[in-house]
Structure formats: structure tokens, C-alpha cells
Amino acid sequence: MRNVQGMDAPHRWMAVPAGVPGVAWMMVAMLVGFTALNRQFVDVANLVNIGSQSSILLLIALPMTFVILTEGIDVSAGAVAAASSVALGCVMQAGAHTWLGIVAAIGTGTLFGLLNGSLIAWLRLPPFVVTLGTMGMAQGIALLLSGGQSITGIGTAIPVFYNGAVLGVPAPLVVAALAYVLNHVLMYRSRVGIYARAIGGNPEALRFAGVSARAWQIGIYTFAGAMFGIAAVLLTARMSTAHPTASLGLEFDAIAAVIVGGTSFEKGKGGLPGTLLGVLTIGMLRNGLDLVGVPSSVQVSCIGVLVLLALFVEGWKTR
């Protein structure tokens, strides 16, 4: 019953989930507020900057939306991205071909996703503890491979993925757009979106329909891992080094973006357009607070407040 809305959505071309209006208002309020505090906020250069900075977050938040729709969570995302980034760094430092490095990054992410998915779906363990465990493991691998140090000297080919441009459009925006289209098609034009919601809402129904809920659940976590690997490539490109702890905590921004974007843990509600707006909201919040001179640590607190607020409003609406 509670899934009706979710099951309908994929059949519409542009499904607009409930919850988008809330986050849209939040964005408008931020735009007005930060512009009032600092005119630079609406400079074209700054807006492009917000987009580029948000691209890495989007790559993590999109698959996180699938995971949360299955009533799961993946808190290992930041640590997996760190391990992928370090793997990329090691391969590049050894002077190997760029594509080999990218394969190493995506491969590392995919393996961790497969591990998460198998433990969660096959052994039916609770997602947040499993991913908490793999978070520790990924963090350990990142530290072990890098010796706890930044990996420098990764060449000039990788940074192009963040600093370059395609037909005048910054490369990270191109990657983000491609990733969004891929995820949108998976969510709304393929069975993945329907099954993700069904795994969260009514796995019995999937079983009766002869669909292997477990296989799809493993697939969703594995796909998420691969996306974290791609995010790690952009992250490494942005810093021109691979650092074992730089991306720790990134999962919190991503989970925050998904929740603020209106995807809920329990009702199969929400979707990717909301997540896109959620990512931009978090991006604007961080950028705006930066411009106003609020330190990064306090930004994290603000995001925490934002998440608790979004959950509160969500709970209040459904009551």
C-alpha cells in the first residue's frame, strides 16, 4: 500500500517526487540570504564553482538514493572513496596508463560495494553496521596502501578530469551530468528503480513475482561502490594528490543531500531530482558559509542541523 506512489513513479517521464518543493524553497531562501550577505555569491564564476564542487558529492549522493530507497544505508562511502583514491594514486605514481588507474579506482569501489551488498543481502545483516565495519576496513586499506601519507607525483593526466573542459563546460560538470543521466535512466526507465523501492517496501512481492531481491540488492550496493570509485577519480583530480583521509565524512554530506532532497528511509518516497536539488543545497550552504567566513567545522554542524530539521519536518508531515 505504502508503495503505490513509488511504484507509479517510474512510468512517468519526469517523476516529481513529493518533498522537492521543500528543498526548492530552502534553495531559494539560501540564494537570497547568502546574496544579501555577500554579493559575490551570485557571480557566474562562483555559481560554476558551486556546481563543480557539488559534482563529487552528486556522484556519491545519486547511488546513495538507490541504497536509501532499499531502506539501507552506506556509511562506508567516504572511506571507500579514500581507498579508491589511494589505489588510483599508487597506480599513477608507478607510471602506469591513466585508464589503468581509473580501472583501479572503480575496481576498488566495486569490490567494496560487492562486499557490502553480499553481507547485507546474502547474509541479511543490518546495512548500517555492515557498512560501518567495511568503513573501518576501507579506511585501514587506504592507510596501509599510502602509509598514512599523501601520494604525490600522480602525473598531469588525472587532474584534467577536474580542471579541464569539454566545449567550454568544466569537466566535473560534464561527468556529473553524464552520471545523473545514467542514474535517472536506471531509476525511471529500467527495472532497477522499481526493484529498489520494492526491496525497501515489499520484498515479499518481489519474491512472489519471481524476482531475486537479493541479487538486485547486491547489484545496487555494487553499483554504488563503482560510483564511489568514479567520485574518487574526480576527488583525486581536484587535489592532484591522493590522500587517505581527505574524503572521510563525505558520506555524511551525501546522506544529508539525499534526506534534504526528500528521500525517506521508511516510505519509499523520493527520488533523484530531489537528490540533485539536495546536493546543490548542501553545495550552496558550504560555499555560502565559506564566503561569509564560517569555518568548515561549523559547516558540518549546520549540515547536521539541516538533516535533523529535514527528518523532523518529514516525521511531522507523516504524523
Binding site: V129, I141, G147, F265, S297, V298, G304
Partner: protein, 326 residues
């Protein structure tokens, strides 16, 4: 009401609990014997007392968490709470020179964070992992801001005894551990509150219909978890003799691992504080072993993470076996 609570407590099956504890204690002994063969430094009084001291500190932080997990909840904010409480207490001790004032501040801040968690989970009905996860980042951010990258160090000698001192050649934290083990065991096993906590974890709906005040008991366990984080922060501060914004980061995973290895089920209703002490001992022994065998310290998060997964796996398998039997 009394009748249904009695049937809940029969669910806990004391006999089975004891055999579970004995098998886990055997695991501790096996690891200890293996380590004594692997490293000459292991079976020295200094090292054993050190293990005991570390395990005591871990137990203090994990004991409140045990109660939360018994209600099928989780508290991911423990490490962040310890860092905040330690930094506030350190600042107050430095400013006033009074360890008592510092202790009061740490206990108060720990309790307040716990109370806030309890409110989010029990009254606003947020899933505990996401509410305490949000809380973790919220207070992490505040602690970094408060400390502004500074380190406070050098506390009064008397205060430091709380973490690094000895009494009759046994480390002081061990006595604290014993006191709070007794208190936690009494609370969980011998009071109506404790029985209600088990009841909520076993079957929240049935507990509510039996007249258990679910909301206020949930607020109570999260508050106690916060209070124990505050207490743990004092011992931790006294041991480290310094405080900075990020000292809590490596603490949450081990605390969760200790609770889970100790046989407390993530699905609620099963487990004891004794188990958590054994879990804390086992984890500390393993980490101590890595240290003694000169294995890269970077392995520690990996090993802790893997241990958490194995512990949940064992919990889930034994639960499924029980369900199959029933």
C-alpha cells in the same frame, strides 16, 4: 503487567546467557594463550595491567551503549560525545584549576547529548542510527570550532590519577570498571527498568501494550549512554593528559565492536553488561597483540571493522538458528 514482564524475562534465558558468556570467556583465554606464545612481552605484569586499563576504559564507554543496543537501537555519537566532553572538561580544568568543576561539566555535557539523542529517537521517532549519526557530525563540528585546532595539555597530577594512576598496584580505571559493571548488571538484571529495557528490545509493541513507558525508557537509555560517554571522557582525558578536537574519532567503532563481540544482539533484547566487558577484553587483547607483534598500526581500523562484521554475522546466524528451533 507483572505477568507479561515475567514472560519477557523468561525470554532472556539466564542459563543460555551463562553458557554464551563462558564460551566468549574461553575465546579471551585462547587469544591470551596464543599471544603469550607469540610474544614474550605479552605475559608481563606491565602489559597485562595495560590491557586491563584499556579494556576498562573501553567498557566504560560501551556499557551505556549496551543498554541502547538492548532496545534494538544504536548510538553512533559516542566518540564525538567523548571528544566534546573531554575538550570542555579540559578547558574548564585549565581555567579554574578544579578537576571537580571539569568532571561536572563533562558529565553534564555527556548527559545532555544523550538526552538530545533520546529525544530525537523516542519522541521524534527518528531511526536511531541516523539521528545519532547526525548528532555525531553536529557535535564534531562544534568541538572543532570550540577547540579551533588547539591542544590543551598538562592537567593536575591528582586528576591524572583517574586515568593513569594505580591503587594497590591495580590501575584506577579497573576499579571504576568494576563499580560500573556492578551498577550496569544490577540495573539491567535486577530492576524493573532493566526488565522494561529488555522488553522494549524483544517486542516494542507488546511492551507498550503491557504498560511499559517505552518513550521515557528509551530517553533513559540514550541519556545513560551519554552519561557514560561523559564519564569515559574524563578517564580518557586523564590518561592522555591532553585534549584536541579529533580525539573521539577512533573510539566509536571499538565501542560498538565490544558490545557486539560481547553477545549483545543488534536486533535487541539479548545481551548483558558482563558480555560487553568480555567483548572489551577480547578486542583490547587483539589490538594489543597487533601492537606487540609489531604489526603496522594502520591495520587497526581494518581489524576492528572486520571484527564488527564477524560479530554481527555470528549474532544473526545464532538468532536464525533460534528462530528455526522455535
Amino acid at each position: 503487567m507483572n505477568h507479561s514482564l515475567a514472560s519477557f524475562s523468561s525470554l532472556i534465558k539466564p542459563g543460555e546467557n551463562v553458557s554464551k558468556l563462558v564460551s566468549r570467556l574461553a575465546a579471551v583465554l585462547i587469544v591470551a594463550i596464543a599471544l603469550s606464545f607469540a610474544s614474550d612481552a605479552f605475559l608481563t605484569p606491565g602489559n597485562l595491567l595495560n590491557v586491563l586499563r584499556q579494556a576498562s576504559l573501553l567498557f566504560l564507554m560501551a556499557s551505556g551503549l549496551t543498554l541502547v543496543v538492548l532496545t534494538a537501537g544504536i548510538d553512533l555519537s559516542i566518540g564525538a560525545n567523548v571528544a566534546l566532553s573531554a575538550c570542555l572538561a579540559g578547558t574548564v580544568i585549565k581555567a579554574t584549576g578544579s578537576p571537580l568543576a571539569g568532571a561536572a561539566v563533562a558529565l553534564a555535557s555527556g548527559t545532555l547529548v544523550g538526552l538530545a539523542n533520546g529525544g530525537l529517537v523516542a519522541i521524534l521517532r527518528m531511526p536511531s542510527f541516523i539521528a545519532t549519526y547526525g548528532m555525531m557530525w553536529l557535535i564534531n563540528g562544534y568541538t572543532y570550532y570550540f577547540m579551533a585546532g588547539n591542544t590543551i595539555y598538562g592537567f593536575p597530577h591528582g586528576f591524572r590519577q583517574l586515568g593513569s594512576g594505580y591503587l594497590f598496584s591495580i590501575p584506577v580505571p579497573v576499579y571504576l570498571m568494576l563499580v560500573f559493571l556492578a551498577l550496569a548488571a544490577l540495573f539491567a538484571g535486577r530492576t524493573i527498568y532493566g526488565q522494561q529495557v529488555y522488553a522494549i528490545g524483544s517486542n516494542p509493541v507488546a511492551a507498550r501494550f503491557s504498560g511499559v513507558p517505552v518513550k521515557s525508557r528509551l530517553v533513559l537509555v540514550y541519556t545513560l549512554s551519554g552519561l557514560m560517554a561523559g564519564l569515559g571522557s574524563l578517564v580518557f582525558l586523564a590518561r592522555l593528559n591532553s585534549a584536541e578536537g579529533d580525539i573521539g574519532e577512533p573510539l566509536t567503532l571499538p565501542a560498538i565492536a565490544a558490545v557486539l563481540i560481547g553477545g549483545t544482539s543488534l536486533f535487541g533484547g539479548i545481551g548483558t553488561p558482563y558480555g560487553t566487558l568480555i567483548g572489551a577484553l577480547l578486542l583490547t587483547l587483539v589490538l594489543n597483540g597487533l601492537n606487540l607483534l609489531n604489526i603496522d598500526a594502520n591495520w587497526q581500523p581494518f581489524v576492528t571493522g572486520a571484527i564488527i562484521i564477524v560479530a554481527v554475522l555470528v549474532d544473526s546466524l545464532s538468532r536464525r538458528r533460534q528462530e528455526a528451533r522455535a
